[in-house]
């Protein structure tokens, strides 16, 4: 691993200009990611950014890291495969709330239980913006959209409760309305050894409600530290996470004080143990033919 302390956010900015709607929250998230990566200090060629499909899933292309804009909902399986094959890379996964909690929802618990060292950033805008504003898994009940003309009848998924209940070791939330705070939690998530989840309330300027925009966030957001929250206590984190959709709490909800070993570390340990008694590679074919 190379650490280059002189890296700046601009070193992570690609030549591709974002085509998000002007005013989109994802612009601020992208800047926060640049800042977090500069603070981490690993050069772009040691970083891989995997995404699914959606407005926010364009994000790898706007960075100078290696990127893979994959298929809908499949950022996590690809990120896990990459991390297993190339454990030395810093692997980030990103996408929207639909990508992460609807189409890709089945992958989240498995990424958590495997606990590979991946940071998963979800840009939660409570809508399918790219396809023109349909209900998404985090849309609030009663929301009027093109697919819910009389208001949604469904309860939203609570991404924070979801990942905490499955045992995620690092769970945080941020908003581009507080970019220094968002950059700080993304940096902390990347530094955390294991699966780390950051839910970003990233407003959709075209289809989002007025109360979900950046100015509204600035007026209502509260930092967990200011509330005296203890991020080492999962039960307290679950309690605070219940406020999702009612209040905007930012910062670290949960950080395992004794992080379990990552999947990569366990795989490495097993490889080392089994290799001690393994036959030389040259003999494998012979053994296969004999049996």
């Amino acid at each position: 691993m190379n650490l280059i302390p002189s890296l700046t956010p601009k070193d992570f900015k690609s030549d591709l200009k974002p085509i998000w709607c002007p005013g989109c929250g994802d612009f601020g998230v992208l800047q926060a990611i640049y800042r977090a990566l500069a603070a981490i200090g690993r050069p772009p060629h040691e970083i891989a950014f995997i995404s699914g499909i959606g407005c926010s899933s364009r994000i790898p292309g706007y960075t100078t890291a290696y990127g893979f804009n994959s298929v809908h909902g499949r950022a996590l399986p690809i990120a896990q495969g990459l991390k297993l094959a190339r454990p030395e890379l810093l692997v980030l996964a990103a996408g929207g709330d639909g990508d992460g909690f609807s189409i890709g929802g089945g992958h989240v618990p498995h990424a958590i239980r495997r606990n590979d060292d991946i940071t998963y950033i979800v840009m939660d805008n409570q809508t399918y913006g790219l396809t023109k504003g349909q209900l998404s898994p985090t849309s609030p009940k009663g929301l009027h959209t093109v697919t819910s003309a009389y208001g949604s009848l469904e309860n939203p998924v609570n991404p924070l409760m979801y990942v905490l209940a499955y045992g995620a070791s690092f769970v945080a939330q941020g908003t581009p309305a507080d970019m220094p705070g968002l950059a700080a939690v993304i940096e902390e998530a990347i530094r955390f050894p294991g699966f780390a989840f950051v839910n970003v309330q990233s407003p959709c300027v075209t289809y989002g409600e007025e109360g979900q925009q950046i100015k509204a966030h600035k007026a209502v957001m509260k930092h967990l530290e200011d509330l005296g929250h203890n991020p080492g206590n999962r039960i307290e984190a679950l309690d605070k996470a219940q406020s999702y959709g009612q209040a905007l709490l930012t910062g670290v909800f949960y950080r395992d004080p004794d992080p379990p070993p990552t999947l990569g570390a366990l795989v490495h340990e097993r490889q080392q143990r089994l290799m001690a008694g393994a036959a030389p590679r040259a003999r494998i074919l012979d053994m296969f033919v004999q049996h």
Partner: protein, 175 residues
């Protein structure tokens, strides 16, 4: 969380105050550049051109402040960071809108200048160092001048078309 929480105005030295002022201008320049890029991407040349002009102005202010900093303190290491400021003079991200008129862009800039002015006004009573106080007072009065300049341009800008904003929604496009 307040973005300026970590600035202790009472103990702010002139070196740190100049560095802070440089960072504020730098952030504003970058935000205006971002807005100009967004407007160009979405085929809104008048607003793009105005935001590019604002970015140029912020860069001039930044360069002048940086020169003063070098003159007084040379290359002495800085102890303030971008994490200590946010949106002081930079327009809020959601000020940008698809197909902004020149008038809308000018109004966004005016709100940013007013925001910066409010920042310096709020900081002034907390400052203990006379040199820092003089610097912040100078910066505060510059914000008033900038507001006047933007207001003059607003007075000359053509009126907005009388059309519903929804007609100008700019949905995502292929890349």
């Amino acid at each position: 969380m307040s973005s300026t929480k970590s600035i202790d105005f009472a103990t702010l030295s002139l070196k740190d105050a100049l560095d802070l002022a440089v960072l504020i201008e730098e952030e504003a320049r970058e935000r205006y550049e971002e807005f100009a890029d967004q407007m160009e991407t979405h085929h809104t040349p008048e607003a793009a051109s105005f935001f590019r002009f604002m970015a140029g102005n912020e860069e001039k202010h930044r360069a002048a402040l940086a020169a003063r900093r070098r003159e007084h303190f040379g290359e002495a290491p800085s102890s303030v960071t971008r994490a200590m400021i946010f949106d002081v003079e930079a327009p809020d991200y959601d000020e940008a809108r698809a197909f902004m008129t020149l008038r809308a862009a000018l109004n966004a800039a005016l709100r940013s200048e007013e925001k910066a002015h409010a920042f310096f006004v709020a900081a002034l009573p907390q400052l203990k160092n006379a040199d820092v106080h003089a610097l912040f007072d100078e910066l505060r009065s510059e914000e008033v001048e900038h507001q006047e300049l933007v207001r003059k341009q607003l007075a000359q800008a053509p009126p907005d078309p009388d059309l519903p904003a929804d007609d100008f929604s700019d949905e995502p496009v292929g890349q």
